[in-house]
Each structure stands twice: as structure tokens, then as C-alpha cells.
Amino acid sequence: MSDKLPIITIEAGHTQKGYLQNVYKSRELLYFLAWRDIIVRYKQAFFGIAWAIVRPLLNMLAFTLIFNRIAHLESENVNYALFVLAGMLPWQFFSGSVMDTSNSLLTNASLITKTYFPRIIIPLAQLGVHFLDFSIGFICLLILMPFMGAGFGLSLLALPLLIVLLLMLSSAVAFWLSSITVQYRDVRFIVPFMVQFGIFISPVGYSSNLIPEKWKWLYFLNPLVGIIDGFRFAFFGVATTDFVFSLVTSIFVTLGLFISGYFYFLKKERYFADRI
């Protein structure tokens, strides 16, 4: 029997071959880690898992009140609440997952120093937790739409692509930030600030049409602009003036961040247990 056993070779200074295969093999661990974080979050809470639905809804309510009633921002002829909800959904997912994933390696330090598995699973599992919130919010939005006077169009077909793009962007940022945090704890203080600031440079509470023409190229470098505009397009079929430009920029920026983030993570992963 022993002749059939697989042989692993570990060589100094090289990332192990078949890393992605390893990740695939550990998919159950990914599931369990995500499951742990979801369960733990609602343990000893009276309303339990119901918070998972209520939380995103409360958030949207707060947002609608602030931006619509107080700030009176323009929403391209779509019901403002829906307009905000459609932007909030990707934004909440992005900001929430970035906050948690950047810290995820530190909070799981005991796993990293005591067991082996592809470390990339840790931020990915954290992403999974937030994706659950996202999915719940997403379904809520779909249910709300007909009641608030928005119809379903063919543009909805663009959603899967946009969700993949959003997932890639969030994991790209997660790869970068989580691996940097292992060495530089400063990231923990920078991230909340970035997230607070990020909501103003992304078209969450307003339309990106409000941005002056000459600054648009700079504005579009924020990959979230294309994604959020994309979500609004998918839900309501209305496109901003430079929609295609913003989406294409977003795709390229996201791909760049994703690929570089992945390899950066792999390069640093070898030293996590030593540095954490």
C-alpha cells in the first residue's frame, strides 16, 4: 500500500507546487472556518441568526434617511431608497470584508503557528462570512424592488459577472492587506480610516455623474466606481454617462490587484508563522 502514498517535496525558498490544488483539497476547512465565524457571531444573541437579515436592512434604512432626507442627492429617476440600496449592497460587502479580512490572519494566529493548511483559506473564509450577509441583502433587495416601482429587466443578467468582479476585488484587497498586516500592524489603524474615506470616493450615496468631467479619470481608478455603477445598471437598467469606461477601468484595476495580491500573499505566506 505504501508505494501509492503521495510524496511532498518542500524546498527552501519555493512555494510548494500545486498550491491551488491544495486549496481545493482544503475546501471543507474553508467551509468550517466560515461556518465557525457565522455561528460565533450570533452565539448568545437573543435574536440569533435573525440579525443576519436585520443588520443589512437597518443599515440601508439609515443610509436612505441620511442621504435622501437630509442631503437631497440626485438618483437618476430611480426611487432613491432603491438607488441607495443597490449601491450599498456591494459597498457593505466590500467595506465589511476588508475590515475583517485584513485582521483575519492575526485573529487566527494560533492556527497559523500550530497547523498547516494553505493560509489563503483564512481570508477567503472571512470573505465567505460577508458573502452570506451580501446574499441576504441581495435577496431582500430583489423582494423590495417590485414594491417600490422598479421592474426587472434583461440587464439583471449582468449581475453574475459583477458579483464575480466584486468578489475578486474584495479578495485582492484581502490578500494584500492581510499579508501586510502580519508584518506591519499599522494596517489595522489605517484600514478603518480608509473605509470611512472610501464611502465618499465611491458612488454609494450619490451618482458618479456628479463628478466633474476633468476628474473622472482619477475617480474611475477606484475600481468600486465601475462595480457600483454596474450594480445600478443591472438592477435598474440606467447607465451613467461614462459607464463603459468606468467598468473597463475597474476590470483592469481589479485584475491587476487580484493577480499581484495572490502572488504577494504566496510569497509572504512562507514567513507567516515566523513573523506573526
Binding site: A12, L33, W35, I39, L111, K114, T115
Partner: protein
């Protein structure tokens, strides 16, 4: 490849920061340092970086070459800081080596800590699944073994209680139970047996032995030479990050004990007074050169001395002391009342005393040679000290059955009075 593990010139280097205590570096520090060295280079382009002497290199492992064959139960021994844990971490792929390479065959499970990743808020049941997944079990596998795990852990009643309300003993038991039901080709265990009560420790040792029986390879690290001797058949002795000895466990333990213990089995010198001088003392066991004795090994103590001035009050003997510095056994030449006078005649003598090591429990003992003039003078009492470490042989443990280690060993001299075999 026939071996389960082969390493070639495996080394691991750590950098020790001498200026900052913790070795954390912050972004600001790094940037400041980068800027500093940039300006230094602007001022003096030919000068090498000054950075270098701020950090010190430390080799936790240096050129380690080991081979582990299938079915071996390998004990890794060495003092604190010898590199044992680093080696285990590299073999478990937690830490990556600085140079060299390793080949590992088969599925590895490493148990560097009991209950890794237990979440205090989750119940026992939930933690079994989580921890199982962390150790590399699939969901189906855990479901299949769930009942066995629960039974082994003895925490069945508290399965649905959050682990934060468990006692530390319960957490340990649950943790080990999960790990024990892994089905690896290679099991790596690091001193986890130091916890839990004696009964549970035996259960763990038994389980590890069973794994060995089924052809699994086990790597075991412990400070406790006793449990290493009872589990392992091969040994690796590390010191200062290097492999000092590799081979049968008994020779490794020999080398190890010779290097760390202050006392030896032999003493040579010249102490005494105008009545008597001692030159040599030593412990032998069946003529074999061993740094320790198994419980039951016949032990011979030899003493060489010279009586310079004969007096009938002269008395010599030995005391055996335990680790708590309590005298637990003694024997004097006066006890041999018929021959006593001949032992203290003027002249050179070589005496021997047979000690039955079966009457001692496992432990490190000291034998002190004691000599004095009856009721008047103490000639020597602490000048000649020999070590006398005793371990339980437990051949039976190694064969998969666990026998009780407690009690006095009465020997193995069983014989028939009569026997009828059909």
C-alpha cells in the same frame, strides 16, 4: 523513495533584532530606515549598508539530515533550544526552511498542541467538527468517527455545552481524542502528553502505540526520557540545531544523558583522610555501557580504596537519594558483619555491591558514598556522587499493551512447579 521522511541539509535561520526588543517592525520604522540608508548612500555611495550589524543571525537548525523509515517510532530528544520544535514545525510545513529540502511521503497529521483552534463559544460537538477539519479530516470522516471520539474523550455528557465552560482537563481530553482518530500515515506529536491525569496519559500512550502497531510512522518529541523510551524505537538527538546522534533510541538516550547530566556513572579521584583514600567508583550493569538503567537491571557498584591506617571504627557504605534529596536506601559494610573487618584491613581494596534496581520507581537517583569513623568523624559524605537514572523498560508497552508502571519491579523469574500442556 522508501523512507517516510528524508531531509537534506535542512537549515533554518532566524534574525534576532538587537535594537528593538520585540522584533516587530512598523511601517514608520521601515520607511525611516529606508530613508536613512538612502541618504547615507547619497552622502557616501561607496559605503556598504550599515544595516547589517543591527541584526544577528541565529541558526535554529543547521544542516539537518534525517531519514525516517515507515513504521518507525522516532523520539526527538534534546535540551531546550536544541531545535526540536523548529524541526517539527518544518516537518509539519508550518515554517519553511531557509535552505535544504525535505521529502515527505503520505498524509501527515501534526499535533503540536492539543485542541488547536478550539473556539470557546462553540459547543463540544461543534468543536469536534471544527478541530477535525483543521487537522485535515473531511466532514464525512468526522461523522463516521464521531461516536468513537466522544467515547474516547469521556466528555459525552457535555457535548452541547460551550467549550468555554469546560475544565482544562476536558478540553485536553477532547482535543486528544480528535487527534487520536486521525488516520495519518505519519503522526507528529509534540509533548502534548504532559497534560491530563495519569490514567488519560496512559490512554494516550497506548493510542500512540497502537498507531505504531498499524504500521504508522510516529515522530514524538518530549523532555520526558521515560515516555520516549517506552514509545519509540528510534531516536534523534539534537543539540544546538545539529543532529548529534541518530539511531536506536537507547544509544540516543545514552548520548543525550551523558551530555547533559552533571553526574556520571563513574568517578575517579583521590579523596579521604589519613585513615582511608578513595580512588575510583562506578556503576556497571551486566558489563554493558549504558547511561541509564532499566528497572530490574542488575546493578554492580564498584569502589576502589586504600586503607592507610587501620581502625576498627572505620565504616563505609552508600546512600541512594531521590530527586527531592531524600535518602531512600542505604547499605554499609558494617551490615555485612561477618566480613566487615576484612574490608577495612590496611591495604588496597576493590569492593562491589549488588543493587537490585527493581526496587526503585522510574526516576533520577544519586548514589553517594559515605565513610566515617563510628560515632566520631565523617570522612566523606558528598565528595563521591554517582548518578543512577532508572527507567521502566516496559517492553510490553512497546508491543502495544500497556502495563502499569507503578510499584516495585519484582523481576521476571517465573518458573514452573509443574506443567501439563495438551
Amino acid at each position: 523513495m522508501k523512507n517516510m521522511i528524508e531531509t537534506h541539509n535542512l537549515s533554518k535561520k532566524y534574525l534576532i533584532c538587537s535594537n528593538s526588543e520585540e522584533g516587530y517592525s512598523t511601517l514608520v520604522e521601515t520607511m525611516a530606515r529606508a530613508a536613512f540608508s538612502f541618504f547615507q548612500r547619497l552622502k557616501n555611495p561607496l559605503k556598504k549598508k550599515i544595516e547589517k550589524n543591527r541584526t544577528q543571525e541565529f541558526w535554529a537548525l543547521r544542516d539537518v539530515n534525517i531519514e525516517i523509515k515507515p513504521g518507525d517510532r522516532v523520539g526527538i530528544i534534546g535540551r531546550n533550544g536544541a531545535g526540536k520544535s523548529t524541526l517539527l514545525k518544518i516537518l509539519s510545513r508550518i515554517v519553511s526552511p531557509t535552505s535544504g529540502h525535505i521529502k515527505i511521503r503520505g498524509r501527515v497529521a501534526s499535533l503540536l498542541e492539543v485542541g488547536t483552534g478550539f473556539h470557546p463559544e462553540l459547543t463540544g460537538r461543534e468543536n469536534i467538527f471544527l478541530n477535525g477539519a483543521i487537522l485535515g479530516m473531511g466532514k464525512q470522516e468526522i461523522i463516521k468517527k464521531f461516536d468513537e471520539i466522544v467515547e474516547f474523550s469521556e466528555v459525552g455528557k457535555f457535548l452541547d455545552t460551550p467549550v468555554k465552560r469546560f475544565s482544562s482537563g476536558m478540553i485536553t481530553r477532547l482535543g486528544f481524542a480528535i487527534a487520536a482518530h486521525l488516520d495519518p500515515d505519519l503522526l507528529i506529536v509534540d509533548e502534548v502528553l504532559a497534560v491530563g491525569d495519569a490514567l488519560f496519559q496512559q490512554k494516550c500512550l497506548k493510542k500512540i502505540n497502537e498507531m505504531g502497531q498499524h504500521g504508522r510512522t510516529v515522530i514524538f518529541v518530549s523532555h520526558d526520557v521515560g515516555s520516549i523510551l517506552s514509545i519509540c524505537n528510534k531516536g534523534i538527538y539534537l543539540s544546538g540545531g545539529k543532529v548529534i546522534d541518530q539511531g536506536p533510541i537507547e544509544t540516543c538516550v545514552n548520548t543525550y544523558m551523558r551530555s547533559y547530566s552533571l553526574q556520571t556513572l563513574d568517578w575517579e579521584g583521590d579523596v579521604g583522610d589519613e585513615h582511608i583514600r578513595f580512588y575510583k567508583a562506578g556503576l556497571r550493569s551486566n558489563g554493558q555501557q549504558k547511561e541509564f538503567f532499566y528497572q530490574g537491571d542488575p546493578t554492580k557498584l564498584e569502589i576502589e580504596y586504600e586503607v592507610l591506617k587501620q581502625t576498627k571504627d572505620l565504616n563505609l557504605g552508600i546512600g541512594i537519594w531521590n530527586q527531592r534529596n531524600q535518602l531512600i536506601a542505604r547499605s554499609y559494610t558494617t551490615d555485612d558483619i561477618l566480613n566487615h573487618q576484612s574490608y577495612i584491613k590496611k591495604g588496597k581494596h576493590k569492593l562491589t555491591l549488588n543493587i537490585d534496581s527493581g526496587i526503585f520507581h522510574e526516576g533520577d537517583y544519586l548514589i553517594k558514598i559515605d565513610c566515617g569513623l563510628h560515632n566520631s568523624k565523617n570522612i566523606i559524605s558528598d565528595s563521591i556522587v554517582l548518578k543512577y537514572p532508572i527507567y521502566v523498560m516496559d517492553k510490553s508497552t512497546r508491543d502495544g499493551h500497556l502495563s502499569d508502571r507503578d510499584g516495585i519491579f519484582l523481576g521476571k523469574n517465573w518458573d514452573f512447579i509443574s506443567s501439563e500442556v495438551n
